[in-house]
């Protein structure tokens, strides 16, 4: 399958949807109204979701409470569990059946996810086939260990078996009688599954083996058969888990008991109920002390204690009991390797939060220094943009080398120092530090979106990843002003243009499973869009109020895209339909060209004044022909110079001489001027302004505000912002007039790089040559560095030719 086809389908569906819904059609010409209202394309407001973007008076959502007893078998790498789900039907509908999500089933051999895995990633076709070693290892591992949920029993509250049907990653349970509105159903389940080896299968949970020490960390998520969401906008959530679109979940209360090896430390979603049974007196004392630490974290389990602990091992077990209120999921980790540190975060509004990190010695010294501090910083900044963090704990667990994954109160995060293979010494660089700080902010930040503002991840990735990436960037720049938030750059708007110019992309409002270039589409582009919205389109005061209003309206509720779009408009008093349409529903990019500038002065109409000026302008624009100059310099005389008697009136007066007709016309003009034009003209003559006509062209398709910087001949500068609405009746070309008291020597569009303009070479008058990155490098003061590089390359080439990757042993099969 080619990407072009794939992308085209997504766009075509979008366009056709628009055409059906929108009565407006441009049936003559090609005008595309980029400001046409979005209301015709958004869902009709109703009593569940209002036209203002707020929850309606009849808003409802279901509730699913869980009581679970689970056991981790460390040797067999297996979870066995029993649980009771108490499901309250808050909808106005009677339900004949309920659906559960069995996300572990995505690892089953016959899952839709595995059967539809592509050999070649889109876009564009491969010209050669290949197999990676990782794929081979994974395919072999699939055969060795059965994966996915093993559902052992499904019964009602009275232990009567219930009929159920499994459809890939979902399970329908048929109820003996319909579950009436406001009624509650109890479902008892027993299940087990083999934990996936993260190094082989990837995913969002599993276990990690540390080969050198033969030790493990376990990190469990998607481990419960969870209630699928039943909503006012889609009924039962019915999109299977294919690996990319994450989760659509219900809020509920959890009471979870986890039995693990007795020397394990078990962090989890929620509040520990039995610290006296699972923690030592020393650990409990340190924990109490950590609750009084607000400046820096302190150890509950020290690195030395963790290192000693991981070398021992035990066959005894302990049971950790956790309770969590009003969460949409439950995750946990378990290992005898964990170092544990914590510090308290005092919120201006809301209760204290214990920021904590759990990590193996392999994560130090990096993790001791920065993980828990980054957790605390996240709560500070995100709460400022939204609402106080409502849970008592916020946890970061080191579970892998890179990346991260979010759950309520707990997140699994990567980045570790590197170890020199010869010296064994661990060290980390600024880049690794930034990586850790960034991933912790991102994953802990997900507590706000989508763990509390509970958007539907399976359908719209951008609603949590995009909003969260935006806040992540804000928090990172509050950590360090030079923090490289995107692609090594502290300004995301300088980076997003290369993605947005590509033909191989889909609109943000594409279903999660159909998104190509996932990170750019669902994380970076919406984050850049919100940055433009805040810093350039709306301004901070309007944006921050509206964004906070959205967060608070939908806290512990389930918003959809239209709820976000509508709230941002409703709370700011700003029509942003053009912005949502362009940034979220199309693949246009920002490229505004400043095509031309024409300078004028006001004409007095007085021929005595204007004629000399016209002569001056002509002289300035028409230099004397070289022939004439050369003739003169060689002493050649013209005919009339040699024959003065041949001169007449025309030789004494050029075409600009003022005649009586000119004077009469001027008198007529003055007599014809009536008030108020007469006074206005007189005042304008006194002020004698410079008048500029500036031409702009929208080459990228996305309409944009025009931030302009004028530089005057005295060196002074002036900045103005032209709102995007200037494009409303012609979104391709527009001319704007500026009246200035001083002569303008240059005009620059988007001088602060605040619009995501992807092509900067057409942003200035006079036009500036924008050198390529390599031009800059070639011309830069880096000659010494280049020489050093050349010398190093010569030395390394001589030392050892770089071998190619291991040969690929696939060959055409015999016919």
């Amino acid at each position: 399958m080619k990407l072009g086809w794939f992308a085209a389908v997504a766009v075509a569906l979008l366009v056709s949807g628009t055409a059906v819904a929108d009565a407006n059609k441009q049936t003559k010409g090609k005008f595309d109204d980029k400001f046409r209202q979005l209301e015709v394309d958004l869902p009709t407001p109703n009593t569940y979701r209002t036209a203002s973007g707020a929850p309606g008076e009849s808003y409802w959502q279901q509730q699913a409470d869980y009581t679970i007893n689970a056991t981790l078998d460390e040797v067999k790498k297996r979870i066995t569990a029993t649980g009771t789900i108490t499901y309250r039907n808050n909808s106005p509908h009677a339900l004949n059946y309920i659906w559960l999500q069995l996300d572990q089933n995505t690892f089953k051999e016959d899952s839709v996810s595995r059967r539809t895995a592509r050999a070649v990633s889109p876009p564009m076709a491969a010209v050669s086939d290949s197999v990676s070693m990782a794929s081979l290892r994974q395919l072999q591992a699939y055969k060795e260990t059965p994966l996915g949920f093993e559902i052992q029993s499904v019964t009602d509250g009275g232990s009567r078996a219930l009929r159920y049907t499994i459809n890939d990653t979902m399970m329908r349970i048929d109820l003996p009688q319909p579950l009436a509105p406001k009624a509650t159903a109890n479902i008892k389940l027993a299940w087990a599954f083999n934990i996936v080896d993260y190094n082989l299968f990837g995913g969002r949970a599993g276990y990690e083996q540390f080969i050198d020490s033969d030790t493990y960390t376990f990190f469990q998520a998607q481990w419960i058969p969870r209630l699928a969401a039943y909503t006012d906008y889609t009924g039962w959530q019915h999109k299977q888990f294919l690996g990319q679109g994450e989760f659509t979940l219900e809020f509920g209360n959890y009471d979870v008991s986890i039995t693990a090896p007795a020397d394990h430390i078990v962090p989890a979603t929620g509040v520990l109920q039995n610290p006296n049974e699972v923690l030592s007196a020393e650990q409990r004392s340190r924990l109490a002390q950590a609750r009084r630490e607000f400046d820096k974290p302190m150890y509950i389990v020290t690195p030395e204690e963790a290192l000693a602990n991981e070398k021992e091992g035990t066959t005894a077990t302990k049971t950790w009991r956790w309770k969590a209120s009003n969460v949409r999921d439950f995750a946990w980790a378990s290992s005898r390797k964990f170092i544990w540190d914590a510090m308290n975060v005092k919120q201006p509004e809301g209760g204290d939060v214990l920021a904590q990190s759990f990590f193996p010695n392999e994560g130090d010294p990096l993790w001791s220094l920065y993980s828990t501090r980054a957790v605390a910083h996240t709560i500070d900044v995100y709460s400022e943009f939204s609402f106080p963090y409502p849970y008592p704990n916020a946890i970061s667990v080191n579970t892998w080398l890179g990346g991260g994954m979010e759950y309520p109160m707990i997140s699994f995060n990567g980045y570790r120092p590197v170890k020199d293979e010869k010296t064994g010494k661990k060290t980390y660089t600024r880049q690794a530090k930034n990586g850790l700080v960034g991933v912790v902010i991102h994953e802990v930040g997900h507590n706000y979106f989508p763990m509390i503002v509970n958007s539907d991840e399976r359908q719209w990735t951008w609603m949590d990843e995009g909003l969260n990436s935006f806040l992540e960037f804000m928090a990172e720049l509050r950590w360090d002003e030079n923090f490289p938030v995107m692609g090594g750059n502290s300004n995301s708007l300088d980076e997003i243009g290369s993605y947005m110019m590509s033909e191989d992309q889909v609109p943000i409002m594409t279903n999660s499973e159909s998104v190509i270039k996932f990170g750019s589409n669902a994380y970076d582009k919406p984050a850049a869009a919100l940055t433009v919205l805040r810093e350039t389109v709306m301004g901070r005061e309007l944006f921050d109020f509206a964004f906070k209003e959205y967060a608070r309206r939908w806290k512990f509720k389930r918003p959809t895209p239209s709820d976000f779009f509508r709230t941002m408009e409703d709370a700011s008093g700003t029509d942003l339909d053009w912005f949502w349409r362009g940034w979220f529903y199309t693949t246009d990019h920002v490229d505004i060209a400043l095509n031309g500038v024409r300078e004028y002065r006001l004409s007095t109409k007085n021929p005595e004044v204007e004629a000399p000026l016209r002569r001056e302008r002509q002289d300035a624009t028409r230099p004397e022909p070289v022939t004439v100059t050369e003739n003169r310099e060689k002493g050649l005389q013209t005919y009339v110079q040699k024959h003065p008697d041949a001169k007449d009136f025309y030789d004494a007066n050029d075409e600009f001489v003022v005649n009586n007709k000119d004077l009469n016309d001027y008198a007529t003009f003055q007599e014809g001027l009536k008030e108020p034009d007469k006074s206005a003209f007189a005042r304008a003559l006194r002020e004698n302004p410079y008048i500029y006509f500036v031409d702009f062209e929208n080459k990228g398709g996305l309409v944009s505000p025009l931030p302009l910087k004028f530089t005057f001949d005295d060196g002074a500068t002036k900045e103005i912002m032209i709102p995007a609405e200037i494009w409303r009746v012609d979104n391709v070309k527009v001319t704007k007039m500026f009246v200035e008291t001083k002569k303008v020597v240059s005009i620059e569009l988007d001088s602060k790089h605040q619009t995501a303009d992807a092509v900067r070479s057409n942003n200035a008058f006079p036009q500036r040559n924008e050198p390529s990155r390599l031009d800059v490098f070639r011309a830069g003061a880096r000659g010494e560095a280049r020489n050093q590089m050349a010398e190093a390359l010569t030395e390394l080439r001589a030392k050892k030719a770089e071998p190619d990757s291991p040969a690929a042993p696939i060959t055409p099969a015999p016919q």
């Binding site: 050999a119 060290t427 692609g487 590509s502 033909e503 690929a808 042993p809 060959t811 099969a813």
Partner: protein
């Protein structure tokens, strides 16, 4: 997301109808990515290639080279280490212009923020209309490595993605 291992790429082999790549699902935070930009510079008739490698990924790669030397051996700001990375990139990235390999020469490298930028170039008479591209950078290091190549030789920008078992791919209609 990350571990050691070898990747395989077979030269123009044909294997019909079999889904070989089972890429790990993406995490909620982005996985390792190298962003490569291929551009045409008409002023100097040069095909210009920029690879943007996350410094932490480059350093993880360096740490696996077993050179010893402590932190300095893994510090990607050290020019010698950048040169080593350049040699690796030369062996794991290639352009082919309708049958002929484009001989990219290394221009240099520099750090920009959190990324290592590696520059290659090749003098050509005219920009190619199509390119066959092989990109295996760091895919033998990180299983989840996903590389993006943006090709912009004239007005159009085309993007290729390399992940899983992807081999050589072709970008057409570039001019």
């Amino acid at each position: 997301m990350s571990k050691q291992g070898g990747s395989i790429t077979r030269r123009l082999a044909i294997l019909a109808g079999c889904a070989l790549a089972v890429a790990p699902p993406a995490l909620a935070h982005r996985s390792q990515t190298v962003l490569t930009t291929v551009m045409w510079n008409p002023a100097v008739s040069m095909l210009e290639v920029t690879h943007r490698v996350h410094n932490a990924d480059a350093e993880a790669w360096l740490s696996q080279q077993g050179q010893g030397g402590g932190a300095a051996a893994m510090d990607i700001t050290v020019v010698r280490n950048q040169a080593q990375m350049m040699l690796y990139v030369e062996a794991h990235f290639g352009l082919n212009d309708g049958g002929a390999k484009i001989a990219l020469e290394p221009l240099g490298a520099e750090i920009e923020g959190e990324a290592l930028l590696l520059y290659q170039q090749c003098k050509l008479v005219a920009p190619p209309k199509a390119l066959a591209i092989d990109n295996r950078i760091l895919r033998d290091v990180f299983d989840g490595q996903t590389n993006l190549v943006n090709v912009r030789l004239a007005q159009r920008t085309r993007t290729l993605i390399f992940s899983g078992s992807d081999g050589v791919k072709k970008a057409e209609g570039l001019l």
